[in-house]
Symmetry: C2
Subunit: 362 residues, 2 copies
């Protein structure tokens, strides 16, 4: 071999060795092309909620130099909004973004992955899921669907919604036609409210025409986009049925198991970024939107104490009934309840007292 060839071959060899050395046992991992399709249960117009899917996709792409990419589709583009769980389970899509409480028909305990009436706030829910044993319990539930779930963000405590007329006490709630789905709706029905189920796209018109007297949606930022302040003057709080709703990414377990370990780490971190970013965006956008809405003459109103008391009782009864009927619900409820009680005691001290004092000073 000539000296020149020797050098060239050695150089090539060195490059090859360098490649394999620096990727020991992981050549396939760092360069594997992965392409996933994500179906969201949310429309593009809910840009903060839906946006956490874009954050996830962007983060994963950046961290893997484009080797792992997720194509994001809004509600209905690939799959109808409430069929995303089935589609991930069957493997026709790899990942979905949704809220687990949409699927309590499949297993009522899934509600604890998002929120229940008089449940945890955003920080409490996140703490319980990530470091309080919650996620392990929820993973067990999703195993039945060949799915592994990851928290995808939170809206924070939602508002109580828009009312055409003031409600001063429980008397005013009797027969009130209110659009409110889910467990909140079930609790409201027990309180005498005439609960209505209306899709998001029809709320504005229904309220404008007087087909309903009240509606809940999300909070100032999303509500403003729907224009609800134009058709109802009273904006009530708190939305006790959604004090800290957590969204979720559902991933097909076979797809998950096929990911190299560094992609798994990247994906998990990207979920955490998407999760934190959603709450931060809401916490920046809601104050600004509220200021705009108030400038238009909207009246803020807290629910009267007798309404909250009735709501609390109805909600407790509802959870206890599920628990007595369903073993799986009972298991998660028991663990959740213990964590919640301790958390409420702690958050009732310095956090709540600081908030109660400081937020009234400006």
């Amino acid at each position: 071999m000539k000296r020149r060839d020797f050098i060239r071959n050695t150089a090539i060899g060195a490059t090859a060795v360098a490649c394999s050395q620096t990727q020991t046992g992981s050549i396939a991992q760092s360069t594997k092309k992965v392409r996933w399709r994500l179906a969201s249960s949310f429309p593009r117009s809910l840009d903060t909620l839906f946006g956490s899917s874009n954050v996830l996709a962007e983060q994963v792409k950046l961290m893997t130099n484009g080797n792992f990419q997720i194509k994001v589709h809004p509600a209905g583009e690939l799959v109808p909004p409430f069929e995303v769980l089935d589609s991930v389970q069957q493997g026709s899509i790899q990942i979905a973004q949704s809220a687990s409480y949409y699927f309590i028909g499949k297993n009522p305990a899934l509600a604890f992955d998002s929120t229940v009436p008089f449940g945890m706030t955003s920080r409490q829910q996140s703490a319980w899921l990530h470091t309080g044993g919650g996620l392990e319990l929820i993973h067990e539930l999703f195993s039945d669907f060949n799915i592994i779930n990851f928290p995808a963000g939170n809206t924070g405590a939602q508002m109580g919604g828009w009312f055409k007329k003031e409600v001063h006490s429980m008397q005013d709630m009797q027969g009130l036609r209110m659009r409110i789905p889910g467990m909140g709706g079930k609790a409201m029905a027990r309180m005498g409210v005439a609960v209505q189920n209306i899709p998001g796209g029809e709320i504005y018109t229904s309220l404008e025409r007087g087909a309903i007297d009240a509606t809940e949606w999300v909070g100032p930022y999303d509500d403003e986009q729907l224009g609800l302040h134009e058709v109802a003057p009273f904006y009530y709080y708190p939305g006790w049925w959604e004090p800290g709703p957590s969204l979720s990414f559902f991933v097909n377990k076979d797809e998950w198991n096929r990911l190299p370990s560094d992609y798994k780490a990247v994906f998990k971190a990207a979920c955490r970024v998407a999760e934190a970013n959603m709450q931060a965006r809401y916490d920046t956008q809601n104050p600004q939107a509220l200021a705009r809405i108030l400038a238009k003459g909207i009246q803020l109103r807290p629910f009267a104490k007798d309404i909250l008391d009735a709501a609390f009782t109805a909600s407790q009864e509802l959870l206890e009934e599920y628990s007595s009927k369903d073993k799986s619900f009972n298991k998660v409820f028991s663990a959740w309840k213990k964590a919640k009680e301790q958390s409420f005691t702690w958050f009732g001290t310095t956090e709540a007292t600081y908030a109660g004092y400081a937020f009234s000073k400006k």
Copy 2:
């Protein structure tokens, strides 16, 4: 060339080509070895606070298959706790974990990166930094030190601390010997408190021997480890001087600029995981620690309203004084104040009302 050599050389060549093809323009990025040393301002014993550095290191390592590694050192091992900023600036270490308010001697506006008396809560601070324009303003301040900063976590609202005797009103605060550093101490001094500066390691003994009448530290989980419940029976709240203190990672700018873009993305995501994880751990550990402390007969006490009122006035004066003296402080303060006022209005509605009602029900 023999056929056998040809095959072998081609094979080597092919491997080399495969490496460069799958990492187009990014061979240096995906396989570059990066080794950083991190110095924390915190001791290992503050395991949740200090622990966010370990989370950062672990995440970065997992996501890069070990190519990017950060070696974590507790306070004093490489650098004294309050010299970490200088060391990062000089480049003798690449990264530090600290709290920006330790360095208000260098620039008082750095306080807004962590917390100020009657400032934002954890969620508000995180939202302001990440999506409210705060981080851009703080980045400008750190540019003077050749540093780029990243949020590293939050403790949540801290407690008001441990008192040997009850304090019923401002009268009882006069001449009270309390260990409280930083801006909280400055405000307390204006209120007539005999402010003491004592290192963490000497608090227990000072309180036990009666050299001080009261001390603040962090919250139930960290306070319990220091054993403060053994030497003072009254546990006050809220810690109005630290309503949502945010920790920081300081990175040397030259080292930052040398990182390939995917490592930058990985590092940023890892910071976000560390940040979220610290709050989640505190929010899980504090409730449990509080339950243990209460079981030992500790008495919880809220500060009287006249104490909070005096504290609020003293704190406002303090911030306004800094602002009138320092241009850089004034710039950040003005932006921060506007965001804070809108945020307080919003958080004062559904979040505070829900907390006020629900946390008292268990």
